[in-house]
């Protein structure tokens, strides 16, 4: 809710039907999860909640989530064949219904895996194709996927945030919104930084090279 950023969020997206929330929004959540994970997963477990669980199949929500995880866009006519394509590309998929608690009715939890590397991303499709990533791994999150997003995990120590934001400002990018979270003092921390423009590669590399920074992912708008 709140005034939309862009009129193209109201008239749009251009999408494969039938539902902006249950189809197009689901593709975008899949795309965001894939980008935050940083690669195409080999194994995926999808937990559908609320309206996603009760009416998801009829809206092609399963096809849409998998399409996004494969890197397909919401207006890709091949979206209907995403399950076949996942099979061809060796992505194993398990879909279950579950209760994710007191969250938006169109919520989904995506467990992504490649070898030993795993990440879960939870999000909600809030209407009209708009989405919100609400959890990344252990961290609460809030990211809409409508702006370039930088996801940084680091060890929680003084100066980390200042060092990252300094590199961003030196690269000429402007920070629109920023959130930080940590599991507990001194443990791992997460920064979610939305910028007006995409961050240049050398800035990303500089951030990745900072002491204490564990993972950096540049997530383009979807």
């Amino acid at each position: 809710m709140g005034a939309p950023r862009s009129l193209f969020d109201i008239l749009g997206p251009v999408m494969i039907g039938p539902s902006s929330s249950h189809t197009a929004g689901a593709v975008r959540l899949g795309l965001l999860a894939r980008a935050i994970f940083g690669r195409q997963p080999e194994g995926v477990k999808i937990v559908m909640h609320g309206s996603f669980a009760s009416t998801g199949t009829g809206h092609g929500t399963d096809l849409a989530l998998v399409a996004g995880l494969l890197g397909m866009r919401p207006d890709d006519p091949e979206l209907v064949q995403s399950l076949e394509r996942a099979r061809r590309e060796g992505m194993s998929i398990e879909i279950v219904n579950g209760d994710l608690g007191d969250v938006h009715p169109n919520s989904v939890l995506l467990h992504l895996r490649v070898g030993d590397s795993e990440l879960s991303v939870q999000g909600a499709s809030t209407g009209g194709g708009e989405v919100l990533v609400t959890r990344i791994g252990e961290f609460e999150a809030q990211a809409s996927g409508s702006m370039p997003l930088l996801v940084v995990t680091n060890t929680d120590s003084p100066g980390e945030i200042a060092a990252v934001t300094r590199l961003i400002s030196e690269s000429g990018a402007n920070i629109a919104e920023m959130r930080v979270a940590r599991t507990r003092k001194g443990a791992e921390a997460l920064m979610l930084i939305e910028t007006d423009t995409l961050l240049a590669d050398d800035a990303l590399q500089a951030i990745a090279g900072l002491p204490g920074v564990l993972v950096v992912r540049a997530v383009p708008p979807v």
Partner: protein, 283 residues
């Protein structure tokens, strides 16, 4: 941010000459992109809308459930109805897009996939009837989006959040306001048209049979198009609605929050739980 109240949008329209011009100027400012680029992007959406109408009217579509398909063509080819003309052509266009959407074809969410037929059908049919160029329709789409944004500032535009009124009701309000301005009405008249359309669909529940965007969604694109045209007809004649659009939108958001979960896209109430619905979906 887009304008979050209709009052602000109206104020800006006084400076810019129309809701459409005010909406476009604001979008250009907020997105830091030139107006001609934004217009080109909207024109591309208009192409998708027009293509979906063509695909739907060509017929031969049938959803995977088998529940919908073919009604747009029936309507387009009919000359036995009591009204006909723009009214019938617009409804056929709305059903066409809704059928394309239900069969997993390509559409523009307006503001959602389930309600995608109303706005393009109203604007394209009016423009064709009056011989208006595409640029005018593109303008009207910006006005429509700005009206939708005013509602979206108060409630998520989804059946799950606030019922069908937040999808098809919003679509009809957008179409009514933008259609009124497209036909030469003032920004104030467009506001009355949007209010008239929204009040006519307030309280409408989201009760999809089998959880599919098919029954009643496809038919509702047709009936909401009729409501939008009725609102344009009234506002164009000088009929006003005494509750300002901002307050009508507030009321819609309140009603949406008051709707039980069973009537918000869970397929657990309304038409979805009728005996016929259960038989149709084997539930």
């Amino acid at each position: 941010m887009a304008f979050s109240t209709f009052a602000e949008l109206l104020e800006a329209a006084r400076d810019h000459g129309s809701l459409a011009a005010a909406a476009l100027a604001r979008e250009a400012l907020e997105s830091d992109q030139p107006e001609d680029g934004l217009r080109a992007r909207m024109a591309a959406s208009l192409d998708v809308m027009r293509e979906a109408v063509r695909t739907g009217l060509a017929g031969g579509l049938r959803s995977r459930s088998g529940l919908v398909g073919g009604d747009a063509r029936l309507l387009a080819e009919s000359d036995s109805g009591p009204v006909g003309g723009v009214f019938t052509r617009a409804m056929a266009g709305a059903l066409a897009i809704a059928e394309v959407n239900a069969t997993m074809g390509r559409i523009v969410a307006a503001p959602t996939g389930g309600a995608a037929g109303v706005l393009p059908a109203v604007l394209l049919t009016l423009a064709e009837d009056r011989g208006l160029p595409d640029e005018r329709v593109v303008d009207a789409l910006f006005a429509a989006a700005a009206i939708g944004a005013v509602i979206a500032a108060r409630t998520d535009l989804s059946g799950a959040a606030a019922g069908c009124q937040a999808e098809i009701g919003a679509a009809a309000a957008m179409a009514a306001g933008a259609g009124t301005e497209l036909l030469g009405g003032s920004a104030e008249q467009a506001g009355h048209a949007a209010s008239l359309a929204l009040q006519g669909l307030m309280g409408l529940v989201c009760d999809p049979v089998g959880g599919l965007v098919e029954v009643p969604c496809v038919a509702r694109n047709g009936t909401a198009t009729a409501v939008a045209l009725a609102a344009i007809e009234m506002a164009g004649a000088g009929v006003t609605f005494p509750i300002p659009f901002d307050e009508v939108a507030d009321a819609l958001a309140h009603v949406g929050r008051a709707l039980p979960s069973s009537l918000r896209e869970t397929a657990q109430g309304g038409l979805a739980v009728t005996r016929a619905a259960r038989e149709l979906t084997g539930g």
